[in-house]
Symmetry: C2
Subunit: 431 residues, 2 copies
Amino acid sequence: MSTEQDERAPAASDEAGEAPPRRGVSRRGLFGLAAGGVALAGVGAAAGYAVGDAGSSDDGVVPFRDAHQAGIATPAQDRLHFVAMDLTTTDKGAVQDLFQRWTLAAERMTSGGEVTENGAVGLNPNSPPTDTGEALGLPASSLTLTFGIGASLLTKLGLGAQRPPGLIDLPRFTGDQLDPARSGGDLCIQACADDPQVAVHAVRNLVRIGFGVTEVRWSQLGFGRTSSTSTSQDTPRNLFGFKDGTNNLKVEEPSLLDQHVWVPPGEGPPWMAGGSYLVARRIRMHIETWDRTSLDEQEKIVGRTKGEGNPLSGGGEFDPANLAATGQDGEPAIPTDAHIRLASAEETNGARILRRGYNFVDGSDGSGHLDAGLFFVAFVRDVGRQFVPMQRRLAREDKMMEYIEHSGSAVFAVPGGLSAPGAYWGDGLFA
Amino acid sequence: MSTEQDERAPAASDEAGEAPPRRGVSRRGLFGLAAGGVALAGVGAAAGYAVGDAGSSDDGVVPFRDAHQAGIATPAQDRLHFVAMDLTTTDKGAVQDLFQRWTLAAERMTSGGEVTENGAVGLNPNSPPTDTGEALGLPASSLTLTFGIGASLLTKLGLGAQRPPGLIDLPRFTGDQLDPARSGGDLCIQACADDPQVAVHAVRNLVRIGFGVTEVRWSQLGFGRTSSTSTSQDTPRNLFGFKDGTNNLKVEEPSLLDQHVWVPPGEGPPWMAGGSYLVARRIRMHIETWDRTSLDEQEKIVGRTKGEGNPLSGGGEFDPANLAATGQDGEPAIPTDAHIRLASAEETNGARILRRGYNFVDGSDGSGHLDAGLFFVAFVRDVGRQFVPMQRRLAREDKMMEYIEHSGSAVFAVPGGLSAPGAYWGDGLFA
């Protein structure tokens, strides 16, 4: 690591009083603590941003620094705020500096602390607070922040040589109705938490810190996870009312994650080692049409029962679907155009993906309907080998396509984890 | 009650097997139970919508039938889905019939059950399910459904004589930037719950049931309550990072609610007795500008400290603001244009309101910013005497107006509660 990088790197140990708070300490406590040493003279009677007694909470803190970024093989939290941003500059140094400041802020927020500046909680009455405040008093809430790089960022910064071969542009799929205002982006941050206020606070503060370097391109809230990513979780339901992601990869299956999710060293530039690729698709569901479809038809489209989520070939939810099984009428028990058949590993050359999507309702569509659907997020090791063939097949043959519309799309390269002290988001790009 | 009304009224006792589920029974349990008696012949191997063992849960059920509608003097739940709808018919009978079906569905959903049709859980494989399914397995989650009538509904149905004098059209306030697509509506349903999936499920099913009679005009999700409405709740924070609604009316103050929230018998048509008026304002916050404002300025605009929420005149959060207090410089400790001064009962002839708003983030605004703010909901006894003078004053003088923009607005008359068995939403309109 060069000297310059050492100077830039916001290693926790370099910042007095800046170590992430202990597990279980709420933002309220931390803020009160930090504020103790800050003079508040001249701010009127009871003014000042400090808050009272240190609270404590058992709510989870997901470690920020690890071999992989958090928010991928983390049991899916309940809420999402996803933001795609564009650079407003081509100044590589400014971007590098921002990534460092973002990393410091992200590490503090995921630990349950507030955002600081130059190592201090900002309580200067004559300056904007360094933290916007709406998460004061709330615990860490299992917040994870996951950072991704779009191909357009590399182009803008003249870093085309750093582009991983796996960071491909998606082809146009049959039926795509993509809105450019909901697609693409130079970079993304995925905030997941068990409390939406905590996820929104994190994105909002990172957006704020990025002022002058980045701006929001699009942003998506999700209110209910649609996949379990851990054997400890129930399978949730999507807005079609069906259990979703039963056969998802699980965090308890590290060898499958190595095979299908993580990019190994040498498969792309060094900064992608231990990383992954994030595919986001905003899938509008025509729920009004779906709701007028018979139960039998709904189950045949999905390939599972609506109640228990059992494959139509028999057995329980977690029993493997028998694609060869036939019903009494001699027809396949799981129809040839059923979603679970077309998305199955058997039908896609063994490809599996880690789904980590969320339900959304974004108001109404102006035509008398709710604007609702699934914000699909998946992590894969190879977009072209895993997602593209699966989606191509689904787009062409999946009966469910009659009820959905892909209205947004993006692919980001998610760098590996920040296990080294002082490492920061995207630092390998500038190596 | 006329014979015709008796036939229409969906009294729980009229429907075999239709009584709302016991407190604590989850939808999963109820559904499995109901499904037990339904034949599922001919639906292939393991098909059918029935689910397994009856679960149990201690999550709250808020009683649906009471002297007042639930969702007003109910301790504010964490999540909101609010929908405004327009009639697509002027057929009074069709509307009356819909209100009955809605009432039955609302009573079941708030009790933790699924939507039924003609008293049965719909498991006919050849028909659409009577419940869309995405809340199967989830408990009641303190769901409340609150129903309101817009003036335009009365006009459309020729019921102008039923218009309460209190159901006024709001004047245009200084600075209003109202979007017609986010304003008004023939009727509204406010769904509040501790789980957003439960609130969304409720609205979605009511919208579905309304097909052919109503359509969605606008819809708003809120992710974090911005007011406490009970002394048992912490004061939450809005997206300016400040505690909001400290001096809100509380459910533990029934005499104040009688004075400021509930419409007494005789103050309007009979169907409004025990009712209230709901004022909704979508308030976009220019958080980027706010975030660049100094802490001192932010606190002066609000009139409270950001950390603890103490009035700038001194004392703790719940101590009364001393509007006469001056600082060492001789200036008012709470500035003359501070929000809490202008909204105070002292400055508004004693008017108080029951705030029940939520934070929102609706993606981005297309100009590089988050589309974020406060979905303000208030319940008042007299819109013209309470809300209008307060908002007129705030719109003209509140320094905070520089940072916000009212982009949506609506007023609804909220009928009294359904304490009588067989009573249904809005039945008094047709009496």
